[in-house]
Amino acid sequence: MVKRFANKAWCLVLVATLVLPAMAGSSKEFVLDLPQGIDTASSVVLVLSEVRLPRNAAVVLRVRVAESGAAEVALGSIGVLAESKDAEGTAVHAALRIDVTKTLKRWRKDHPGVNAMRIRVVPYAGKEPLASLEWSAASADLKPGA
């Protein structure tokens, strides 16, 4: 009995070790207000502000709509090169801008009248998401063009 419990506990620890970093991992969620005029804007840019990344990290930040139970909807992506593989410390990018005009317009057709959305920003390198990258962004905002 004790042994079985110990085995189960060990499995839980193992699962938590494997799964939790990937879930909590490197992705960040933001809630975006959809500003007025966004449906008629000629362009819409998602601005990630004060993005802090390790100076030795080469990443593609992929932006998804975070909707529970629905298929993932890709909004856009941006690649950020490392300064150097040997660099130390953190680079601060004042603003990373991703054009989301077409993808957001497509999403809005299925979500008319919604005035906020939740997004998930997931850092990738190559084909796989990075599970243990330490990074942050102070805010995410949608900026409609003229």
Partner: protein, 465 residues
């Protein structure tokens, strides 16, 4: 902190330490050094070479690929035979290293990005031509915006070892990997081509334009991964694919300029008088201004052929979704209001696509399934010659873990030329699929009705024509 790369396995460490050292020993030990300080540079002189086209790397003939490889081999050899020669590959790679991570005049993140890289590639290209004694040599470009060109061009990966002067052992992408669609597809490219002004496209004195991040930066990281040369400013120039990638980025600028009369380069003297220095093909230290780079055809003597993608894309403003109430247990008569929309789009020669999401096909083996617009045609399985044939759904199992089935596929079929008659069918449309037989094998004829989470049409809106 030092994040662990998901690709940092023993093979990669071996390739980086051994492969890199064997092929480019001086590069592997390179430091970020200034390109040279030989006193004041001589001004760039007007170029009177013949105007020749830079062409897609995937379209080069065998002799042209050999010439490209010979040129890079000569450049690599020069780095070994005369390490002080600024035309050698090490020094060429270190130009990017210097300007992009050390120089007090950064050329990323502002309006220098497009102009500086154009100048860099121009002198690099002239040196390559000189080394093979061919003034008509021009760099190829990797036209990754075309959906069938998402793999690295074959010349850069064949052979995929250090006998190929275009190879680099630190890439995260394998020769059969494709760039992620979302980094370079039309959702990314259309805003680039239609950027309203240079600020949006190429940035300003203190900020970058949209394409510098994506597609430019994304392709860098997709190729190099977390720790490959292409993923870092100081090492990107060590991979020959860098120059094909940036030739395509340069082509974006050229295409943007041609896209509309309002797509003008900055007229601000602060931009036009930007100046950088490079060694030319005769080892002469030259300075060139941004104003001398703006017309690549007349000033720098190269042009680009018309992109097949651009021929179509500028006319497409958006994909309009037409979503009939699709049921899978009976034939669907596409209602007139939906049918009329699609037929009108077809009549206007607009592209029409059929989207099938989370399609239910067997996932326990790798196979290709043919999709037909009716079960009888699927039973007959005549392939593309059948008027009811709509396309294929490939299922490829993970090579390493064949016991893990892939997710149900999402497919987009181009049905522009196939669906017109079917829309008018009084019997309606009922999608069916059948496994494509192996070559020379007979059709199995085991057609099944196709089910999926959702099925809908979209067509390209082209009101900009």
């Amino acid at each position: 902190m030092s994040p662990k790369s998901p690709f940092e396995n023993s093979r990669r460490i071996f390739l980086r330490s051994v492969g890199g050292a064997l092929l480019i020993p001086s590069v592997a030990q390179a430091i970020c050094e200034p390109p040279g300080a030989p006193g004041s540079a001589r001004p760039w002189r007007a170029d009177c070479r013949p105007i020749r086209a830079r062409r897609p790397a995937s379209t080069l003939a065998a002799a042209e690929i050999q010439k490209l490889k010979d040129a890079y081999k000569a450049m690599r050899d020069l780095a070994v035979s005369d390490p002080s020669d600024p035309r050698g590959f090490t020094h060429q790679a270190n130009i990017h290293c210097w300007f992009c991570s050390v120089s007090p005049q950064p050329v990323h993140g502002n309006w220098q990005f497009f102009a500086w890289h154009r100048a860099y590639l121009y002198f690099h290209e002239r040196i390559l031509g000189k080394l093979i004694n061919d003034s008509e040599f021009r760099l190829p470009y990797w036209d990754w915006e075309i959906s069938t060109h998402r793999q690295m061009p074959g010349a850069y990966t064949t052979p995929n070892n250090n006998t190929n002067s275009l190879w680099n052992g630190t890439r995260a992408m394998s020769p059969t990997d494709e760039l992620p669609d979302e980094d370079v597809n039309e959702d990314v490219m259309e805003p680039v081509y239609s950027a309203a002004n240079f600020g949006e496209f190429g940035g300003g004195a203190g900020y970058s334009g949209i394409p510098e991040g994506s597609p430019h930066g994304s392709v860098h990281v997709d190729v190099g991964g977390f720790s490959g040369d292409m993923g870092a400013f100081d090492t990107a120039g060590r991979d020959p694919i860098f120059y094909a990638h940036h030739a395509n980025v340069d082509k974006l600028w050229s295409d943007w300029n041609k896209g509309a009369s309002s797509h003008e380069n900055p007229s601000d003297p602060a931009f036009l008088n930007l100046s950088w220095s490079f060694y030319d093909e005769n080892r002469i230290w030259r300075s060139i201004k941004a104003s001398q780079l703006l017309n690549h055809e007349t000033q720098l003597r190269y042009n680009y052929g018309l992109s097949r993608f651009r021929e179509i894309l500028p006319c497409i403003l958006d994909w309009i979704i037409v979503r009939p109430p699709w049921k899978f247990d009976r034939p669907v008569i596409v209602e007139p209001r939906y049918r009329d929309q699609i037929v009108k789009a077809l009549d206007n020669r607009r592209p029409v696509r059929l989207h099938i999401n989370n399609v239910q096909v067997p996932l326990d083996k790798s196979a290709v399934y043919r999709v037909y617009a009716d079960p009888k045609s699927a039973e007959a399985d005549e392939g593309p010659k059948s008027p009811a044939f709509l396309g294929v759904i490939p299922v490829v199992l993970n090579n390493r873990e064949k016991h893990h089935p892939p997710k149900p596929p999402q497919v987009v079929l181009n049905v522009s030329r196939r669906i017109s008659a079917l829309l008018h069918s009084p019997d309606g449309i009922q999608l069916a699929f059948v496994e494509r037989p192996a070559k020379k094998a007979k059709a199995t004829g085991k057609a099944q009705l196709l089910t999926a989470r959702e099925v809908y049409f979209s067509y390209g809106e082209t009101i900009r024509e």
